[in-house]
Amino acid sequence: MFTGSGGEDAIEGWSGQYNGQGIPLARTGGVHYDSKFNKDKESINANYKIGSLEVNGTNNTLSQNNLPTGTINTDADQKYDNYIFRQKLDATYQVKLDTTSNLKIMTDGTLKNSKANNSNVTKNTRGDGSALNDNTSNTTNNSNNQIFNASAFYTKKFKKKGRTISVLVSESYNEGDSKGFLKSDANFYDEKAKLDSTQHIDQYKTNKTKSNIITSNITYTEPLSKASSLIFNYSIGVDNGTSDRKSFNPSSPGNYNVLVDSLSNNFKLNQLSNQVGAFYNFKKKKITVNFGTKVTAVNFNQVDEASNYEFKRNFVNWNPEVRFQYRPSQQKYFSVSYRGSPTQPTIDQIQPVAVNNNPLLIVVGNQALKPSFQNSFNINYNSYKVLSGMSFFVYGNYSFTSNPIVSNQVTNSAGKSTIQYINLATKDPSNFYLDANVGRKIGNTDLNIGLSGNVSGNNSYNLSNSALNFTKSITYTGGIQANEYIQKKFDFYAFFGPSYTLSGSSLQPNINSNGRGFNARGAFTVYLPGKFQLASDADYLYKAKTQTFDSDFHRTLVNASLSKTFLKEDNLKFTLAANDLLDQNKGFDRTVNANFIQQNTYTTIRRYFMFSVTWDFNSMGGPAVKK
């Protein structure tokens, strides 16, 4: 089964991002310097940042895997403790070479060290409740990274108005070295729930990666008339990298020196891409039109250093774009656009390196994969009447993908799965989004009220034990909102509205995830005498039980703060704030994707109180602005 949401492959090392799950402890500091000299012709901007972030917490995922042969229910518990320490130094230098040309040089260097520790207990049961398999594992990882980037950007304006050229050259170097351990114990049961077999893994894993990317881009703009111009660009990119991954079994306890060939590999990657692009721009009075395309030819070569086997792939990617906008005034416009974008299959989908962190799930490569192509349409109408306070906007988006890359997951009776990606030439997954909002000011007051409605839908396909599964979901939301803003007196905002979701998959037509929901949120700020300010916001979320998840979910989050400002410019502020007064922020998430329906509960920041002092002593440095 897939690891929980937000998790990365623990062996790769933690990326160092806090994503709203777990309790974070962050310490950061930095220094910034910037200055202009030589009559403002030259400027320099430099930063040094140092920081550490530790995130730990627990996570539980309940999911249902819909197979043609039946259902597999999973209960997965995860405990994690991740730490990262980073230092980054960057500098930007800009110089006006003369009245028509400019040069900007940027460089930065980063040193990172991260440590991750993950424990997992996963239990899989069949639709009738009998045990299928279970797995207890622990992975640890310690990795170091060095990153260096440098770029130079030159722009020049020619004598003819609108004729410009710009050149960008950039280099990016990234080196990583990670080491870690994987220990896991898995038990497999037969249909009578008797223990059938076990699998024990105790391995030491190392991964060394190096990557060097050089890109160069030239863009030339030629004015055709006062209202139109053509933009041409050519860019070339060279990407060289190596990846040396090893797994060792122990010959004796603590002595990991037996190389496991099937889980080790040493690759060299070279990728050359050439891109040409042409765009036409027209802008006159109220109409703007742009269209054009970029074409990229990619030559990809992967060499297996152990066997000298070379794997070559070539792709041609097209990125066409068309946009039309009609803008009769600053507050009123209408636009329509189309964009086509290809998605190349990833290295892991074509020829994955063997990864066994989850013995219940193995990814198999497919060398025949071709890129998929996504067509995306957008429509947008926006109108705001300043005097009457009437506003109306509509936004819509529809996209479909042809020749999509979808997963085919084959699960055997013991609950072990293999996943392979294939191109599905016969179906086009699609999604759409439509949002409309109308509002107006009430008479001569400062109260605004509005009405909004939203529909979004998703059709996706995948294969489950080689049978085609069609998953469809549509969500409808509507709402009423009100707001008022009176300078230095008070302001408030309130929204409430219902939602209804329909979702299900074709392989399990009797099970769906249809459900009602309701959301209300609001906030207010009151300016009290004595330079006091009282503010509060609340968010209420309700999700009714569904066929798949049999309990209702309610959550009310309330935050509040009381602050007082001092000094003539109000730039010293004392604040007493409370977060989640009702202590209801239990992390919770329900999603449907492919043939999984999943509910996730996780550790997150709960109720706390905080007293803070903010002093804004000189906003941007330099002499004060006289009014």
């Binding site: 300043v386 005097l387 941007m620």
Partner: protein, 247 residues
């Protein structure tokens, strides 16, 4: 004998222009106007916008208008600008929202004023300006002009250059009341100015003096009250916008 003296009489009289068309060019110092929008609350966000504007746009935005005059009446109208909408096109101080017909005999005016999505037709008496005439002179569009200073809307300092060779007490926008046509006008603290680029002495056809019809009829007092109500929560920059829309 009679013919000769008749000729000499003509030579003594100077020529006065009482009908014709004047082309004005309004210049707005955008760098200064945008800088005035920046305050401690928005400077982190606004300062890079001003920097980028300074790098890509010229400091002064120039727009043209015409003033047609005959029979002691003036008709002032902007010439539509070709330039595209930039993000500061809503700044009333740099724009030309007015078409004004002034009757200098009855001292009344009709102004068609564009305010956001609305068009107003302001019918009121001409603004009474207390001008202080000075000794300073300069030449504008081939005419010798004399300087006069005044204060309008309680706080807006105005410098005008008028010429007695055009004995019509009119001028661009809503400014009038000097003993001659105003050919140069500057509001130095508001960073805008108008200067005549061409004066054409020619008879004027009646259709050139016709006001457009569209607009909601209001008096100046009613317009000011509507704008005050609209802008009361807009913050410090509303003051400048108010001034520009009521000039």
């Amino acid at each position: 004998m009679l013919l000769l003296s008749g000729n000499m009489l003509f030579a003594q009289n100077e020529h006065f222009t009482t009908h014709g068309t004047i082309e004005f060019e309004k210049s707005a110092n955008m760098f200064a106007l945008i800088k005035k929008l920046i305050n401690p609350d928005n400077e982190a966000f606004f300062t890079p916008i001003l920097e980028s504007y300074k790098n890509t746009q010229s400091q002064f935005t120039k727009v043209k208008s015409t003033l047609t005059f005959t029979d002691n009446k003036t008709m002032y109208a902007p010439i539509e600008s070709e330039s595209a909408n930039t993000i500061f096109s809503d700044l009333a101080m740099s724009g030309q929202p007015n078409v004004i017909y002034t009757d200098l005999d009855t001292k009344t005016s009709v102004t068609q004023k564009k305010v956001y999505e609305e068009v107003f037709m302001v019918k009121d008496s001409v603004r009474k300006i207390t001008w202080k005439i000075t000794d300073e002179t300069r030449e504008i569009a081939g005419y010798q002009c004399r300087r006069a200073n005044a204060l309008v809307l309680d706080s807006v300092y105005v410098v005008a250059f008028y010429t007695e060779k055009i004995p019509v007490s009119g001028g661009p926008e809503s400014f009038s009341g000097l003993p001659g046509m105003i050919l140069g006008l500057a509001l130095p603290h508001e960073n805008i100015s108008w200067f005549a680029t061409k004066v054409t002495d020619a008879p004027v056809e009646p259709k050139a003096m016709v006001m457009p019809k569209k607009g909601k009829v209001v008096t100046n007092k009613e317009l000011v009250a509507t704008l005050k109500q609209l802008m009361k929560n807009w913050g410090p920059w509303a003051q400048t916008q108010m001034k520009a829309l009521t000039l």
